[in-house]
């Protein structure tokens, strides 16, 4: 899956897949994580695991790649479909959240750095 000059591969670099395949693999994987009660407990009073933050960071880092791909490769079509407000709202919230809690490294955001800086500019 491409984001401009960058290419994301599944399994952290070992498998080259198309964007639709990548997104489906990612969404299925995230669903598995969220359904895992050892990571996201459901029962009353059950504590979160000590390394919970690591799991969250991994999920959010990978989600960023989907945003990067959409903005780089499909934004004109998004505008044609009149969906840019929805996309921007989702990304805006995502970005403010990961920025507030420092959940995604800045190097990861380089593919759409200008957009990121525009949103985060005070």
């Amino acid at each position: 899956m491409k984001a401009g000059r960058y290419e994301y591969r599944w399994a952290d670099g070992t498998t080259m897949v198309s964007a639709p395949e990548y997104v489906e693999l990612l969404m299925n994987w995230i669903e598995t994580q969220i359904d895992n009660e050892h990571i996201f407990p459901k029962k009353t009073g059950e504590p979160f695991p000590p390394n919970f933050e690591d799991f969250v960071k991994r999920i959010l880092r990978k989600l960023f790649r989907v945003y990067a791909h959409i903005y780089h490769s499909h934004f004109p079509k998004i505008v044609t479909l009149n969906e840019q407000a929805h996309l921007n709202t989702c990304f805006h919230r995502y970005l403010l959240f990961v920025s507030e809690f420092q959940l995604v490294d800045k190097e990861e955001m380089v593919p759409i750095q200008k957009l990121v800086e525009t949103i985060l500019k005070p």
């Binding site: 491409k2 401009g4 000059r5 969404m27 299925n28 669903e31 969220i34 359904d35 996201f40 407990p41 459901k42 009353t44 490769s73 499909h74 004109p76 079509k77 044609t80 479909l81 969906e83 929805h86 709202t89 989702c90 919230r93």
Partner: protein, 527 residues
């Protein structure tokens, strides 16, 4: 040299990708458009729900702080109460993450059935709590144009917290069905009450009509028009208090014949001798040859009512003429239904009853001619007057033109009603309930075998929820904060589940005596 060539190749690749991208713009498939619409709806609903959740959490905190301020409790106890609310909020947030499905409940007796599905008793496996599960078939909702109706019902139940309205705890869906998990009211409903008792004393009727006024007022304040209020939608809890329900399990009328109805074709009214008795909108008719005697009417209604209860076709008996004629209607159509129910409570059968639903509709539309009190009916003048002011044209009906419930409450028939205490005092009728699983106050329904849906349906649920087919049902999932139980320290923010019992006074005793008389087959004296 090699590096330079590689860079050029990459750049060229990117350029060609961009070009391909622009070419794609003209070829947007219908499938893509549907997915876009579904995605938009999903996103909008998601953030609206988030905002509402945050707002409601602030409100709950504020309400608790106000209560603490008004109580004389120690600082330590104050902290405990606040910490308990915080814990409940945390658990509620976790509850919101649970993906509920029908497998989380043990299915028990069927207590209702309609065209779109059924209602049955169920027990939540995790907590043991008893609920009523209403199950609605999506394909039926879609084919009968009921999607907005169901959404409105779910939204109303999720939004209104009222003693007069049955409580919604959860809603969820699978590929085939929508589910509403609701408060189970084991006292039955007004329909089964009337099936046993034929008529009610004016004291008992007044109590339930008054509670119905509060319930209808409650939904009207939330801009909801019910349109199909009838005795089987008036549920009774185990103490005999009434709650309005069944907003979406209505039994649709067979409307094919109704639309052909000729409004200007009265039914042989020359056979009916009329005399004006006071109100010009009200006719007291003597028996004509064509119509059955009141006793025959009563007997036929009792037989047909039982059939109707089991059928999936609704009765038009309580529906306002403007609804039947499909002209525009407003909130006042619900007050008409209330008038029809009141008539039935006191007379024994609906005011426009006929064995044939189409004839019933014609009578309703020609209500001026056909609103008749049988000679033997012993109603007070005030009761007749109220019925006639509810069963009349929408322009002159009590409660219309924004006058609302206050105009009805002001009627002299309600003179002694203490409106603020209706849900605190003892109910006028006390149903027999043996244990929380008791369904003796409901009709008995046979089981119909249906295959058990798989927990997650086909494929991952994130896929299912975004398919175009499900666009109509986006945003259906709901969990009520009351589903989270507090510790013994917590104040019950929304009031106690069991309202405090006021001591019975002579009025209540009179009511009990009258009710006993009725149950032994006596005529029952009027108040």
């Amino acid at each position: 040299m090699e590096n330079q060539e590689e860079d050029e190749v990459v750049l060229a690749k990117v350029t060609s990708e961009v070009e391909d991208n622009f070419e794609d713009e003209g070829l947007v498939s219908n499938s893509t458009l549907e997915k876009v619409a579904a995605a938009k709806k999903y996103i909008e609903n998601h953030y609206n729900r988030r905002m509402r959740h945050i707002q409601q959490r602030k409100e709950r905190r504020w309400v608790l702080e106000q209560k603490i301020a008004s109580l004389d409790v120690s600082e330590k106890e104050q902290l405990e109460l606040l910490e308990d609310l915080q814990r409940k909020e945390t658990e509620y947030t976790r509850l919101m993450r649970n993906r509920l499905c029908v497998d989380d409940f043990d299915l028990l007796s069927i207590i209702g059935r309609g065209a779109f599905g059924e209602v049955r008793l169920c027990r939540e496996k995790k907590t043991g709590n008893i609920y009523a599960m209403k199950k609605l078939k999506k394909s039926e909702m879609l084919s009968r144009g009921q999607v907005e109706h169901v959404r409105a019902e779910r939204n109303l139940l999720a939004e209104v917290a009222s003693d007069c309205i049955v409580k919604l705890y959860y809603s969820f869906q699978d590929p085939e069905y929508l589910y509403l998990i609701m408060e189970y009211l084991s006292g039955g409903d007004v329909m089964t009450l009337l099936m046993r008792e034929e008529t009610l004393t004016e004291t008992v009727a007044r109590f339930y009509i008054a509670q119905s006024v509060l319930a209808i007022e409650s939904i009207h304040k939330h801009n909801y028009v019910h349109r199909d209020i009838k005795p089987d939608n008036l549920l009774l809890d185990k103490y005999g208090h009434m709650k309005l329900s069944d907003f979406g399990l209505c039994k649709p009328l067979d409307c094919r014949n109704i639309s052909a109805m000729n409004v200007n074709e009265p039914l042989n009214d020359e056979n009916i001798n009329e005399s004006i008795d006071g109100d010009e909108n009200c006719s007291i008719g003597r028996r004509g040859r064509r119509w059955k005697s009141p006793l025959e009417q009563l007997q036929h209604w009792q037989i047909n009512r039982r059939k109707l209860a089991y059928s999936t076709v609704g009765t038009p008996d309580y529906i306002a003429p403007e609804v039947l004629l499909k002209k525009g209607y407003g909130v006042e159509c619900d007050w008409w239904s209330l008038g029809a129910i009141m008539y039935e409570m006191l007379v024994g059968y609906p005011p426009f009853y006929s064995d044939d639903p189409v004839t019933t509709c014609r009578k309703i539309v020609s209500w001026r001619t056909h609103l008749v009190f049988p000679e033997g009916a012993r109603l007070t003048p005030e009761a007749r007057d109220l019925i006639c002011r509810l069963l009349c044209d929408s322009e002159h009906r009590l409660g219309s033109h924004g006058a609302g419930a206050e105009q009805i409450k002001a009627h002299t028939w309600f003179k002694d009603v203490e409106w603020e205490k209706l849900y605190e005092m003892d109910a006028a009728f006390k149903p027999v309930v043996n244990g929380e699983l008791d369904t003796q106050n409901f009709m008995k329904f046979d089981e119909v075998e249906c295959p058990k849906p798989a927990r997650t349906g086909s494929g991952p649920s994130w896929k299912v929820s975004i398919t175009p087919q499900n666009i109509n049902f986006v945003g259906y999932t709901y969990r009520n904060f009351d589903a989270v139980r507090g510790s013994r320290h917590s104040l019950d923010i929304k009031g106690s589940v069991s309202p405090p019992r006021s001591s019975t006074d002579s009025t209540r005793s009179d009511s009990a005596i009258d009710y006993t008389k009725l149950s032994t087959g006596g005529d029952g004296s009027q108040q």
